[in-house]
Each structure stands twice: as C-alpha cells, then as structure tokens.
C-alpha cells in the first residue's frame, strides 16, 4: 500500500469518526428545497406506466401524476375529473363525456379527446391487464376535440367506477408512450409532474402549477422507498420524511400515543377472505365450507393479524362504502360446525392451505385458523410459498383453501361479479350458482341505484350463505404524518392524494 492510499485511509477514518459527532454532516432538510413533502412508501414501483403496472407502489405515485375522466370523491361517489360533465342516452347505450377545457400535459402540450380515445384503445387493443374493464364497450370515439363518446353493447350502470375507480384507466400521452419513456419518465395531466428518479431510492415529483384543480400548495413531493417499518418511523421522528403508510399493525397503538405525530385511520375498502377450491372434494359440498365458516373465530383472526385494526365483516363491502349491506349469518360455533361436517359425511379432513409471506397476515391467519379448525376435527396445513408461486397455484387450482385480499374495488359489481359469477374471470374457487348468476346479471341491467343495491345485496347474502368466499374483515387504512403536514386526509379507498396538502411553518 503506497503512502497516498495510507493517507486516504487515515482521512476516511477521521471523516467516519467526525460524522459520528453530533450535528455534523447530517442533512436534516426535508427535501432539496426544504419545503416539499417527503412521503415514505414500503416498496418501489415496478414501472410508471399506469396501463401496464399492477403494483400497489406504482399506483401510490401515479395517483398524484395522472388523471382519469372521473374520479371517486371522499364518499367514493364519482365526480368530474378530466371530464367536466357527462350525458347518458335514453337507451342507456351511449355515454357522452364533455372534457374540461384548457387542460395541458406536463410537457405543455394540449390535452384533448384524441388522448382519451388513444388511452382506452391502447388498453383494449393491446389486451392490457385492465382490458376487462371495457367488456361490453363497443366503440370509443371523439366527435370533436372536447367530446368523447362510449357506445355500449348493453347498459352498464357502473361505467363511471369502471373508468374512474382505478388509476390503471388513466389518460396517457401518446408521444410519451411511443417514445417508451412512460415507464420511467411519465407525462400526465395530474397535480404533480415527474421530476427525478433515483432507482431503489426515491421518485421526486414537482407541483403542476397549471393543474385544472388548482396548483398544489407544496412545491414538490418525493416518494422514498423504505421497506422496513422501524426505519420509516425513525425517519419520520427524525424529520427526514413527513408521511408514511408503512406502519405494522402492532405499532399503531404506540404511534397513536406519540404526540409529535398525527395518526389517522379509516375503515378500508379492501377485504380479506378464505376460499375453498370447490373443484376438489369435499369442498364442492356447501356444508363443508359452511362448517369452516362456523368453525373460525373472525375476532381472534383480526386480533392476531391486524392487532384489532380492522372491522370484522361477513360480506365484502365495508360500512364506509355506499353499497354496504349488513349481514352476519355465521357465529363462532364449533358444535354446529362439527354437526355440518358429520351431516356431509366428512371425517378427518385435511386441508392444504396456501399462504404467502409477501402478505404476512395470511401466514398468521393460517396458524390461527389451523388451531381453531382443529377443534372440529379438521387438520389445516398452511403451505407457505412466495407470491409468484401462490399466483401460479391459484391459477392452476392446486390448493384446497387459500386466504387473500381484494384491493381497490368501489362499485358493488367490482366486489362480486368477477369473483362469484360462474363465468367470472377471477372465480378461481369455481363457485357456480344459477341464482347468484341471475342476480349479478340483473344488477348490471338495473338502472336505479336503490334497485341495483338490492340485487347485489341479495347476491352477496347468497354468496355468504353458500360460503363461496368466507369473508373475514376489512383492514383499516392507517397512515401517519408529521404535524406540519396539513390538509391531508386518509381515504377509505387507500388512494394517497397530496394535491391539497401543505406544510405549516
């Protein structure tokens, strides 16, 4: 080792020691300009093309950069976004959207009806993941620059939530897509525009002063990817970040007692369920599935997995959603469960239950459920696999029972049709009931909200009675932030919107 490198080592060592002393070299600035918001999310977006990603972390960022034609308000009712108003024809087969005037893309170019047609056609023609949301849409056209027309095969009363309930239906910029830059440098119309990306570390957005909803009050919004909750909380306490949703359920109580932090929760719109594979014996027999539904104690599952930060529910839709129906046919009743098993002639039942560490609640619930069902003579063997394998097994039907959650549903149809209609795309448990099929189809045709709600409520009750899904709970949306962050609201759909946020001095 030469003399120079020896000195380099000495210099480095003293610098290392120097950095240990208080107050030196620590950048406590919240962001580069000191006035933006830094939000910590638990993982990195895979890509920023809203049409191609299905990753939750991507949508956390994209919620702030892209717009849809309509969007859910706080009560999850659809309200104007890029479309200022809309009209439905008498036969309910033509929807005409009038677009907001003067909207520009982040690159300064003008937004128009062609962009909407291009975006929707892209999803349909390239058979992207969200193409199913356009099932029943016959034609999309732009009669003039501020009008978009959707022609339907049959009336579709939840069209608004289909095109507005999910940022995967965002309106994208054709040049941005064709240049291939949308994956890493998206151009949207939303309240914040893309500024900078440090792979593995952070994404920085800046305020779009020309946003149609009014310029955001914070100059920048940085999303940092901090997977470890302890670290995220330490960063929040140290003032390195202003906001995070990376709080494990067991920490919620402790954090809520910290007066230097604001914690808020809202009953979430997501739901977690058990599903038994009805293609496999004996799970085709509803008595066996019902025995499981009576054999489990939802309250202790919620306690073990969510430390109580969830609402027990025996249907999918939570109280905060306008489509909520109250219904709880099952109580924790091991005797009744045992009787049902006996009447089905089932003895010494062994269940292979798929769980995955990527959703740790499934692993914990698997253990709780195993101990509960043991009391009625069912042996549950939780099989822990990674989520990629899990999806594979679910797709191929290689399981007896599984637990998972559905995220991001708004309309009643989203909660029940694809999962329980005998021809539903996501009916992996192979449930089939003519009555439920008819009710779900009727729900699509019905025009009045009250009548629709009634159809879906009846379908949902039947689904629960047949235990197609054994519904467990709706987890709370929990977010925590520094008190300087004002004007931010936790939403039950989990969408993270910083458009109205500001930082107090």
């Amino acid at each position: 080792m030469g003399r120079l490198s020896r000195w380099t080592c000495v210099a480095l060592a003293s610098a290392l020691l120097g950095a240990c002393s208080p107050g030196t070299g620590v950048d406590r600035g919240l962001s580069k300009d000191g006035s933006g918001v830094v939000a910590a999310i638990a993982g990195e977006p895979d890509q920023l093309d809203p049409h191609r990603t299905s990753a939750y972390f991507s949508f956390q960022v994209l919620e702030n950069t892209f717009d849809t034609l309509v969007e859910p308000d706080r009560n999850l009712d659809m309200r104007p976004a890029l479309a200022e108003r809309w009209k439905v024809s008498k036969d309910r087969l033509t929807w005409t959207f009038t677009l907001r005037k003067g909207v520009t893309w982040h690159d300064g170019s003008e937004f128009g009806a062609d962009d909407v047609v291009y975006s929707y056609r892209r999803i349909i023609d390239e058979k992207l993941g969200n193409a199913w949301r356009f099932d029943g849409v016959e034609d999309i056209s732009a009669p003039d620059d501020s009008t978009v027309r959707l022609e339907l095969e049959k009336p579709m009363y939840n069209l608004l939530s289909r095109i507005g309930g999910h940022k995967g239906l965002a309106i994208v910029n054709k040049r941005n897509v064709e240049s291939g830059k949308i994956k890493t440098r998206p151009v949207g119309t939303g309240p914040f525009s893309f500024d900078d990306y440090n792979p593995g570390e952070s994404i920085r957005l800046k305020a779009n002063s020309r946003w149609w909803g009014g310029a955001p009050k914070i100059p920048s919004l940085t999303f940092r990817f901090i997977p470890e909750p302890t670290t995220a909380l330490a960063d929040l306490e140290a003032g390195e970040i202003n906001w995070t949703d990376n709080i494990p359920p067991q920490q919620v109580e402790r954090v809520s007692q910290n007066e230097d932090l604001e914690l808020d929760t809202e009953v979430g719109n997501d739901y977690w369920y058990l599903a038994a594979n009805q293609d496999r014996k004996p799970f085709g027999d509803p008595r066996v599935r019902k025995a499981i539904a009576y054999g489990i104690d939802r309250k202790s599952i919620v306690q073990a997995t969510q430390y109580g930060n969830a609402s027990v529910n025996q249907l999918a839709i939570p109280k905060t959603n306008p489509w909520y129906t109250a219904y709880s046919p099952y109580s924790h009743d091991p005797r009744r469960a045992a009787r049902l098993l006996r009447s089905a002639g089932v003895r010494n039942l062994k269940i292979d239950m798929l769980v995955t560490k990527e959703y740790p609640e499934t692993v914990i619930a698997g253990q709780v459920i195993a101990s509960q069902l043991e009391k009625i003579g069912i042996t549950v063997k939780p099989r822990e696999v990674d989520f990629a394998t899990w999806l594979d097994k679910q797709g191929k039907g290689e399981y007896d029972m599984l637990m998972l959650g559905w995220l991001g549903n708004l309309d009643a149809e989203d909660f029940y049709y694809a999962q329980h209609h005998s021809k539903g795309n996501f009916n992996f448990q192979k449930y089939s009931s003519r009555k439920v099929d008819e009710l779900l189809e009727a729900g699509q045709k019905e025009s009045g909200r009250k009548a629709r709600k009634e159809r879906y409520a009846r379908a949902a009750r039947q689904i629960a009675d047949d235990a197609s899904y054994i519904y467990l709970y709706n987890p709370d949306v929990v977010q925590v932030w520094a008190p300087q962050l004002r004007g931010y609201e936790v939403r039950s759909d989990g969408a993270i919107r910083f458009r109205d946020a500001r930082l107090a001095d």
């Binding site: 080592c9 060592a13 610098a15 299905s54 593995g200 140290a238």
Partner: protein
C-alpha cells in the same frame, strides 16, 4: 503474468457460462410465472397470452436460452420484464450504492480485524485475548439486521446524530454519503470484521510459532520488527483470502441491511427480481456477482505474490 491472466480469463469465461446455465435452469424450474406476477390478480386469459408472447416466454426454453447467451456475449443482457429497462442499465444504476457500501464496510472490517487479531494472537491466553475472542464470537453470531435496527434506534431515534436511512451518491455529497453509510457499513463491517479477526488471530498464532520467526528472534531482531516484518506478513496469505471472500460477498449485495437502511443496492434489486420472477434481471445480477467474485479472487491471487515472494505467478 500474461499467461496467468489469460488462463484465468478463460477459466472465468467457462465459470460464467456455467452460471448462465444453472441460473437459467433454476429460474425456469421453480414455480411462479412472471406474467402472472406482472398482471396481478385481475386479468383475462387474452391479456395473459398477449404479455406472455410480448415477453418472449412462449418460445421453447432452449431457444430462449441461446438467444439470451447470444445477446449476453454482445453485452446485451436483455430487458427487465418489470420495468422494461435494459438490464445492463438497471445493474449499473445499483452498482455505486453496493460498491460504496461494500468498500466502507470492508474499511471498518479490516480496520478492526487486523489490529485486534494481531493483538489477541500476540497476547494469547491473557484476558485481552479472551475479550477479543468473546467479542468476535458475539460479532459472528449476531444478526446484522438486529444490529442495524439497534443502531437506528440508538443513533437516530434516541441521540439524533445520524439520519436513519437513505442514500446519496458519494460523488454528489461526500458528507451526506458518509452520514448515511456509516450505520449500515458498521452493521455489516462488524460481522465481517469478527470473522476476519478470528482468521487473523489463528494465522498470526501459527506464524508466531514458526521456525522463521524463531530464527528472526535468534538473530537478535527486535520483537516489533519480528512481528511486523516476519510474523504478520507471513500470516497475511490466508487472511487476504478471507478478506477477498468477505469483500466479494458484500459486493453481491447485503439484502437485509439494504432493506433495513433503505439502501438501493444490488441485493434488494435481486430479491425483488426473484419475487417478481424477472428472469433477465436475476440472470444479469447473478452474472455480475459471479464476475465480481472472479475478479476479486484473481486480485487475491495477484496479491499473494506481492505478500509472499516465494509464490510466483505463472
């Protein structure tokens, strides 16, 4: 020297080719489908088929493999399934964070291990030797993520001295980098350092008892000279090997520490890529790590000759 380098390069190429076969086979053998992961839980069979053929996954495995190796030879490691970015670029973006953490951790590890190991060996049997042995045993056994979280709670949450996490490039803001690298580097460096300390101690002990050390002392050389010129230098050959292995392991990324400190290194990238079955990125990352390993082992071989003139490189 040239012959040695050429022979090692040929050897390295064969190893790398073997690595591509193994990784390719393993990734395709384990269950899990990148298309299903990319589409999530909501998709139709048509969407599935469209993405599958767009990713080239509908072609026969053998043809996929030869296509991959053919492109890799020209430096093209393919395109990430998840981000659509060239794998070479994805890897290069993460390399500075990984290398700078590995470097800082090795400075700490070696800086602690050599003095402590030599000290313990030269004070064999005394209380100070016992302390070094117990502490290094503790260092070997303690999980680095636990140490990392402990550091965050102590130095960030309680004392407020250091930022809990994050990364800034060394070239942009050296002090910012230093304040952020010090905790992860120490957490990793202490564990590596403990392993190296034990090697240094036993190598020095062996060298102390060797005949050449006895001869040197018999010649009347001062104890300090005997130790620094004859004992420690001779003990360094096995030590350099261990240091090389440790450095190579760190360069491959330290997943858990990267997760704890939100450090954008290769470990997290590879872990995420495996979870998403992003074959091109996994293959690229494993190839890169294998290449780094080979480079380090070649450097170690070259160092042997510098340390011990009896070893010649042919």
């Amino acid at each position: 020297m040239l012959r040695f380098t050429l022979a090692r390069a040929g050897h390295a190429a064969a190893v790398l080719l073997g690595v591509t076969v193994v990784v390719f086979a393993l990734m395709h053998l384990v269950p899990g489908d990148p298309v299903r992961v990319a589409l999530g839980t909501q998709y139709t069979p048509e969407s599935y088929q469209a993405l599958r053929s767009a990713s080239g996954l509908d072609r026969p495995l053998i043809s996929q493999y030869f296509h991959y190796v053919g492109s890799a030879l020209t430096g093209d490691l393919g395109v990430s399934f998840r981000t659509g970015e060239p794998v070479t670029l994805v890897l290069l973006e993460r390399l500075p964070a990984t290398l700078s953490l590995a470097f800082a951790a090795m400075v700490i590890a070696v800086g602690l291990a050599i003095p402590l190991g030599v000290y313990a060996a030269t004070h064999q049997g005394r209380i100070s030797d016992t302390i070094v042995r117990v502490v290094s045993q503790f260092g070997v056994s303690v999980p680095d993520f636990w140490l990392g979280i402990l550091f965050i709670l102590l130095f960030s949450s309680t004392l407020g001295w250091l930022p809990p996490s994050g990364y800034v490039p060394l070239t942009e803001d050296p002090l910012g980098w230093l304040s952020r690298v010090i905790m992860p580097a120490t957490a990793v460096g202490l564990v590596s350092g403990a392993i190296i300390t034990r090697f240094v101690r036993s190598a020095v002990l062996e060298s102390l008892g060797s005949e050449h050390a006895r001869t040197a002392r018999a010649k009347g050389l001062r104890q300090r000279i005997v130790r620094s010129r004859h004992v420690v230098r001779n003990a360094m050959v096995p030590v350099v090997t261990v240091i090389g292995v440790q450095a190579a392991i760190l360069m491959g990324g330290v997943i858990v520490i990267e997760v704890v400190f939100a450090w954008p290194g290769l470990g997290r990238l590879t872990f995420d890529a495996v979870s998403a079955r992003d074959y091109p990125v996994v293959q690229g990352a494993v190839l890169l790590v294998a290449a780094l390993f080979l480079l380090v082992s070649m450097a170690v071989d070259l160092l042997y000759a510098r340390i011990d003139p009896r070893i010649s490189i042919r």
